[in-house]
């Protein structure tokens, strides 16, 4: 697992029930869009992540519907296990720059 994947999983696990938009996840993880969206695509393909369109009337809201992401039940369990294994392998627990930390304290 790469650091960007771990960052995204860590951010999503901070509140597994929350719906996260792309810009939210960029802010939480510190990842640029060019890195974030491929990660989201992979996590969806793996069945860990669910993407849904916001239920909003674009005309009434004055903006297009956004797409939000949340972990699936399988993704929550698998992400926790993967991050735990990653932490176990990491000898250096120093915090790193760039938002949610895969090696930091668990958020669950």
């Amino acid at each position: 697992m790469t650091i960007p994947v771990a960052k995204v999983l860590s951010a999503l696990l901070a509140d597994p029930a929350a719906e996260r938009y792309g810009l939210d996840l960029m802010k939480l993880t510190g990842l640029p869009s060019g890195t974030l969206y491929p990660v989201l695509h992979r996590l969806q393909a793996a069945g860990w992540l669910l993407a849904d369109w916001e239920e909003v009337d674009p005309a009434a809201a004055g903006r297009p519907a956004r797409r939000y992401y949340r972990l699936t039940a399988e993704g929550v369990g698998a992400a926790r296990q993967a991050l735990a294994e990653l932490r176990a392998l990491s000898p250096d627990p120093r915090p790193r720059r760039g938002g949610a930390e895969p090696t930091g304290a668990p958020a669950w």
């Binding site: 697992m1 960007p4 792309g22 960029m26 869009s33 969206y37 695509h41 992979r42």
Partner: protein, 324 residues
């Protein structure tokens, strides 16, 4: 407005780098996010958002890569290991031949006559076993098309044949003598494998085997004929002090020479004579057995690897995403 148009253009560029089936949804999603940034007046972030997507690494090849590496490695391993295995088969057959010969030598007068048939029989049997192993491996190799399959099979065989000839003789002299026949066999085998692969790719497996076996036999026979014709005179025999030296081979029996090399026999026909059989087998030596050891697996690989594509199974979700 200029910033937004520029960002939208970058998003269109970014979308083109994704697979067609997800392009529209991603484009819609990114434009919605861009709209949010535009409403907030965050022009620089708009450009960074779109620019990063436009220059980010495309993800498509990574999806295919994990499925390609394994088959590719298996293909290379199979095609590189099979020719030495063919040579090992000949060595094992030669050892067995000597064991049988030594057992028979003290008890029967026809011990000499069984040498080549035993060598041929053991080589053929082990070659079929090798072909079965390679055939199983070929089912999980990369699909590259009949032409590449044929060349991929034949090239390592050619290299192995050259190395073996050189190693056995420790000079290039014998290699130079048998080279035209070897090249002809490799070219004929390539064509046979290509034809068999084409037929197998259309689901005509029996026809593929028929074409492959016949083509390979013709190629091997022609290779032996070429070597003999190049290096042994067709007559008249050299006469020294009134004594014919028996150093010629009549061309009339040429089509039989490959089979004679395998069996040490003229099949009840007047030609080739015993003297001619000795000259032929003494000249071609290893070549017919190399053809025999390698051809079954070469055909098995070319036909199995050219199989029609099976429907793609629905893959379960990957357990751990491998990263960005």
């Amino acid at each position: 407005m200029v910033t937004r148009r520029l960002a939208e253009r970058l998003l269109r560029t970014a979308a083109r780098r994704w697979p067609a089936e997800v392009r529209d949804e991603l484009s819609r999603e990114w434009h919605a996010e861009l709209h949010v940034l535009a409403e907030r007046g965050e022009r620089l972030r708009m450009l960074r958002f779109a620019g990063s997507l436009a220059v980010g690494r495309a993800r498509v090849p990574l999806v295919a890569r994990s499925g390609l590496d394994g088959p590719f490695r298996r293909t290379v391993a199979t095609l590189l290991l099979a020719p030495p295995a063919g040579v090992a088969i000949i060595l094992v057959a030669a050892v067995l031949m000597n064991l049988v010969y030594n057992q028979l030598l003290a008890t029967v007068s026809w011990a000499n006559a069984v040498q080549l048939p035993v060598l041929t029989g053991v080589t053929a049997g082990l070659a079929v076993l090798l072909a079965r192993v390679v055939r199983r491996g070929a089912a999980r190799t990369a699909r590259t098309g009949p032409a590449r399959n044929a060349l991929g099979v034949v090239f390592p065989i050619g290299v192995t044949a050259v190395l073996v000839e050189y190693t056995l003789n420790e000079t290039t002299e014998k290699l130079t003598r048998v080279a035209p026949g070897l090249v002809l066999w490799l070219a004929g085998l390539t064509l046979s494998l290509y034809g068999a692969g084409l037929l197998a790719g259309r689901g005509r497996v029996r026809a593929a085997w028929l074409v492959g076996v016949l083509g390979a036999l013709v190629a091997a026979d022609l290779a032996v004929v070429l070597t003999v014709v190049n290096l042994i005179s067709g007559g008249p025999e050299t006469v020294i002090d009134g004594v014919a030296q028996g150093d010629t081979v009549d061309r009339v029996s040429a089509p039989l020479w490959l089979f004679t090399s395998w069996t040490d026999w003229s099949f009840g026909l007047p030609r080739p004579t015993k003297r001619e059989i000795f000259l032929i087998t003494d000249l071609v030596e290893l070549q017919p057995f190399l053809y025999l050891a390698c051809t079954p697996y070469a055909l098995a690989y070319a036909i199995r690897a050219a199989r029609p594509a099976a429907p793609e199974p629905i893959a379960p979700p990957a357990p751990v995403p491998s990263g960005a």
